[in-house]
């Protein structure tokens, strides 16, 4: 139930980021200055940290999506849906443990 709610919330968040991301990338068709000045905001401390949240939402949504598909298509999927949630969580923690220091290094490192 809560996994289902989280799947929806992360989905909506990613959707709105996608809209913004298409528009900011479209600025490469306007001028280098326009694109560079807008992309500079992605490199600020606050947005740089928020990107950790974005990547976390994407990874959760993706791996929980695989769990949903296994519930749909795997004969024992419904039976093991709870165990699969924990697998999703472990994969998520491992990937985030790799990403967070890397991102913090990029944002705050010399």
């Amino acid at each position: 139930m809560w996994t289902w709610v989280l799947h929806r919330i992360t989905g909506v968040g990613i959707y709105f980021f996608l809209l913004v991301h298409i528009l900011d990338t479209a600025l490469v068709r306007v001028s280098p200055e326009a694109y560079n000045s807008v992309v500079a905001s992605y490199k600020t401390d606050i947005i740089g940290v928020a990107e950790i949240g974005l990547v976390g939402a994407i990874l959760f949504h993706g791996f929980n999506g695989i769990r949903i598909m296994l519930i749909d298509f795997w004969r024992k999927g419904a039976k093991y849906q709870n165990q699969m949630f924990w697998v999703v969580l472990v994969i998520w923690v491992i990937l985030m443990a790799g990403f967070i220091p890397r991102q913090l290094m990029h944002i705050f490192g010399a």
Binding site: G11, I14, Y15, L18, V28, R29, V39, M69, H106
Partner: protein
């Protein structure tokens, strides 16, 4: 106004059922492809480069889109993610909107937005011209610019 809940076994038109089934299948197929495409996208753009997100600028994009591989790659993400996201939003609108006119208006808005952004994004990728940067030869030395 009382909320009317549809009978689960209410007959659905054959066309409507087909559409829902195709949308359901699309979500699963596009979802699997997007996991690979987007993890690759994140790795190549913000994880692996030495300076990560701080290295992204016009020259970075021009360097990538000099190769048809990344044009197709980014075009695929654009189409699949936007249709996947729009259809997901449609599911939420259908679940939570109580007024029929509002539900229809939101769904029309979602698909118009998706069509506009797919058109915009596809045009940006296919008509991108690195020569609008006067310093382009600093990072793409072999590029030939007209005029």
């Amino acid at each position: 106004m009382a909320i009317v809940i549809e009978q689960p076994d209410a007959p659905r038109s054959r066309k409507g059922a087909q559409w829902e089934k195709r949308a359901w299948i699309f979500m699963r197929i596009s979802g699997v492809i997007l996991i690979f495409l987007i993890i690759g996208h994140l790795m190549v753009n913000i994880v692996l480069p030495e300076r990560g997100v701080k290295a992204i600028d016009f020259a970075f994009v021009a360097g990538k889109w000099a190769s048809p591989f990344w044009q197709v790659y980014d075009g695929l993400i654009l189409w699949l993610a936007l249709i996947h996201g729009t259809n997901g939003m449609r599911t939420l609108v259908n679940d939570y909107s109580e007024r029929e006119w509002l539900r229809k208006a939101l769904n029309v808005t979602l698909w118009v937005t998706a069509a506009a952004l797919i058109l915009l994004g596809t045009l940006v990728i296919t008509t991108f011209d690195p020569c609008i940067d006067p310093n382009v030869h600093n990072y793409l030395p072999d590029l030939v610019c007209k005029g």
